[in-house]
Symmetry: C2
Subunit: 208 residues, 2 copies
């Protein structure tokens, strides 16, 4: 989960040579421009200037601002992501919702995630990349639930993505729909509610 703008683990060395370095430089510049100016302020020229990659190269390989935004999301979704593993499903879900909270509170990543979600409401290319990013995060978070089932903390057949969605959705709802504050107490409370529903079997397959 976390925000689409979260960086990979510190110190990760990316494989690949010049092509990968150019792609990474362009991605970093895209995220920085989005953080400062939003999707409306994103331009190929601005990304080229900031990344030091020639404008004609950026145009040839990314085509447009929507291509830049989509590629940044593709890279983020493909990164290894350290799924919470505290030893209990209660601790894992609490850590998950706190990661969403801190991702949006961070002045570097919060505005970028907001820019992606905002742009996706108006741009189909960005929307497709954003949805693929969240599908990846749902898959990456699934061990929280499969481990809990194996430990006997949750019923057999509990749908992992349903638990994950239920835990984080109220935070996104407060941030983007009702405009209500989010803090650690709220994050803990929504994690606990998702856990209570899961324990009661609300996400177990029919007959499961």
């Amino acid at each position: 989960m976390t925000s689409p703008a979260s960086p990979g683990p510190a110190g990760t060395v990316r494989p690949g040579g010049r092509t990968a370095r150019v792609r990474e430089a362009v991605r970093e510049a895209t995220l920085a421009e989005l953080a400062e100016k939003g999707f409306e302020g994103l331009t190929v020229e601005g990304v080229a200037r900031r990344s030091g990659v020639h404008k004609t190269t950026v145009y040839r390989r990314w085509g447009s601002v929507e291509g830049l935004a989509a590629d940044a999301l593709d890279l983020a979704g493909g990164e290894p992501w350290p799924v919470p593993d505290t030893g209990t499903v209660e601790g894992d879900l609490r850590e998950l919702t706190r990661l969403v909270l801190t991702g949006f509170a961070d002045p570097g990543t919060g505005p970028v995630s907001t820019a992606f979600i905002s742009a996706a409401t108006r741009n189909q290319v960005v929307a497709k990349a954003l949805h693929a990013f969240f599908a990846a995060r749902h898959r990456q978070s699934a061990p929280i639930v499969t481990r809990a089932v194996a430990r006997g903390e949750l019923p057999e057949g509990t749908d992992a993505a349903d638990v994950i969605r239920t835990a984080v959705a109220p935070l996104y709802y407060r941030l983007f729909v009702s405009g209500e504050p989010v803090d650690e107490a709220v994050a803990d409370r929504v994690a606990a509610a998702a856990l209570a529903a899961a324990r009661a079997g609300a996400f177990a397959a029919p007959g499961g």
Copy 2:
């Protein structure tokens, strides 16, 4: 809850004379323009033409497109809203999530609600009006929970807004964040999950 673009009860006669009629004509034109063109395509000129209200009047009373959008939301939030009352909290929550579903599936109201939520990510005036609209809907939906507590279906001290948010948030998350499909089965499932969490006491005040 439902969408911010939902009309009031059919056949409602609004009080007030010419001023109220002008306001209503401008609101209807604003919603129709938003449905067709989104917030980016909303113009004072377009609303004036469509409503038959003179452009200088629209400018003088609403000031700008953000003023038009905010006033449409103010009117929607102030309308009486038929809160589900099926006799059980299970039925009420299911009806509530289905209202959100049908509001977004409706080609008249769905695009308008999407336009409001999208605009609110970029415009503080629209955001403030949208948040007031949802605060009103949370208050209007509270009887679903207070009646359930009175009937002994939910624990004493259950927070009404928490139940409502938990029921509807996964639908907004699918629509605006993860881009996953919503249908009646999903609406029923998220309503049941919120109910399971509420029954387990996840939304009861500490010690309540």
